[in-house]
Amino acid sequence: MTDREQEYSKYLRKIADNIDISDTMRDKAIDSYNAVGRWLGDCSEVSDLKIYPQGSFSLGTVIKPLSDKDDYDIDLVCLLKDMHSASEYEIKNIIGNRLKEHDRYAVMLDKNEGKRCWTLHYDEFHMDILPCSPKETVYLEPYQTNIRFTHRIAPLKYIPKYSNPYKYHEWFELRMQVRLLEARKAFSAQKQVDISEVPMHVVKTPLQRAIQLLKRHKILMYQDAPQTQKDNAPISIIITTLAAHAYNNENNVFEALNSILNNMQKHIEVRDGECWIENPAMPEENFAEKWNTEPSKQAEFARWLGQAKKDILIAPLGEYGLHNIIESMQCSFGSNIVRKSFSDLGYQTKADREEGKLYVSGLTGGLTTSACDGAVKVGGHTFFGKK
């Protein structure tokens, strides 16, 4: 990796941090779904209920909505552990009815029943609650974790569908194992806590950051696109799965993105003439199933991928000058976030100097916090003069 790529990566990482969900919001969401879980579990028909996040909230790839008007989308699995033999109708409605019994949840509940979920609207986020039961007689982590959820095909008429969010999460962690372990070790050493007690959300790998950046790029690319293009935009689970496949435990965000954007396409298989992106947690599920009946979805994926390569890997590195790079990154990640991220690192540089941690590496090597050979420490001073 060149010096330029390494430097550019610092800013990508900062942008990823700035589009991540805030700690306050995450805690609020966790408190809220635990409260929902307690209410749902506290009724005579349900004896053993487990509520847990799935999707980006569980994978650490949530991103802030584009504007304050939009809200976070939090996907939850609501597993009725002892209802293996219940009908789909029972599974879906036992949860729906219980939500309607609660004064506040009844008001927050979306009036339209979702195909698979019940949706609760909070001020800053909405929760999609997926009622389900174990697919097999017993649900036992980490051995037997398939779930059966319900899919509404007509009013009051449901068919079973299957999934395995637990196993997907396990697979995702495995794909970034090296960097995850490294980050957990660093956190446990710094905070003096046992490594087993390091919560998943406090550590972040280049894979997670790369996915957050790719999702952000996608949202911005389709923000003002015609509805037909928007409808065919690549879905998050495809971006996440292909990115995790293509990731090789690179240790910085630029290298991760470089590897992902140049290799993710290789993980799309063709089986009997059909496109396949296998769900790693359930091999019979094809995430790209719709591509085979709606080819414009596949074409749109290719278009997004080409654009992302150009916007993220090529254009900014063709520029010289932080101001020109900021300009070139704005279309990928949004102007406010990009400018804020560069300013954040600017203030960090000032703080580093004040703490005696800033050096210059020759005339063209740039500012650095590592005291390498020949580097000159930037001593304390006060910029002066008129504005």
């Binding site: 932080l322 101001h323 400018r339 540089t349 063209t364 090597g365 006060t382």
Partner: protein, 156 residues
């Protein structure tokens, strides 16, 4: 009194020593001494690997504050009334003279190579961010209206 004692113990750095230190720390720069009393230094500076390269010209005449100019077409927003931390702008020649320190932060007891040059590199870094964001992240002071700015160094 304590301050005076300290200065008595420390020797002023001779121009020739300043030049030697500059040449050693930044071999790519060019350094000359004119008539034994004026140091001239020129160099190309890139504040980060993804930044532009700027032409820097430094002159220092004994008894006066060092003058640091950034010169060339890479300079932008020369018309901006908020242009940060400078003494003067010469729009015709496309050059700005930087204001890098306050009072005693530099004196002839300190090396240019360890003060003025790193501060210039740092100024250019904050300048590029300012160009795109309008925000100066490097901190600093602005003298109040009426404050006299003097190029004459008080402690030389």
């Amino acid at each position: 009194m304590a301050r005076n004692k300290r200065y008595l113990k420390t020797k002023k750095i001779q121009l020739i020593q300043q030049a030697a230190a500059l040449r050693s720390a930044y071999p790519e720069g060019e350094c000359d001494i004119e008539k034994r009393k004026k140091l001239l230094w020129d160099g190309k500076v890139r504040p980060t690997p993804i930044s532009q390269e700027y032409t820097v010209s430094l002159t220092w005449e004994l008894g006066w504050a060092p003058k640091v100019w950034i010169i060339g077409d890479k300079l932008q927003k020369l018309d901006d009334s908020n242009f940060p931390h400078i003494f003067e702008i010469d729009k015709a020649k496309k050059m700005v003279r930087l204001c890098l320190y306050r009072y005693q932060e530099f004196s002839s007891y300190k090396y240019l190579s360890k003060t003025i040059i790193p501060w210039t590199i740092e100024w250019l870094y904050f300048y590029e961010i300012w160009l795109a964001t309008g925000e100066w992240c490097g901190g600093g002071d602005h003298p109040k209206a009426g404050d006299k700015k003097d190029d004459k160094m008080s402690n030389i």
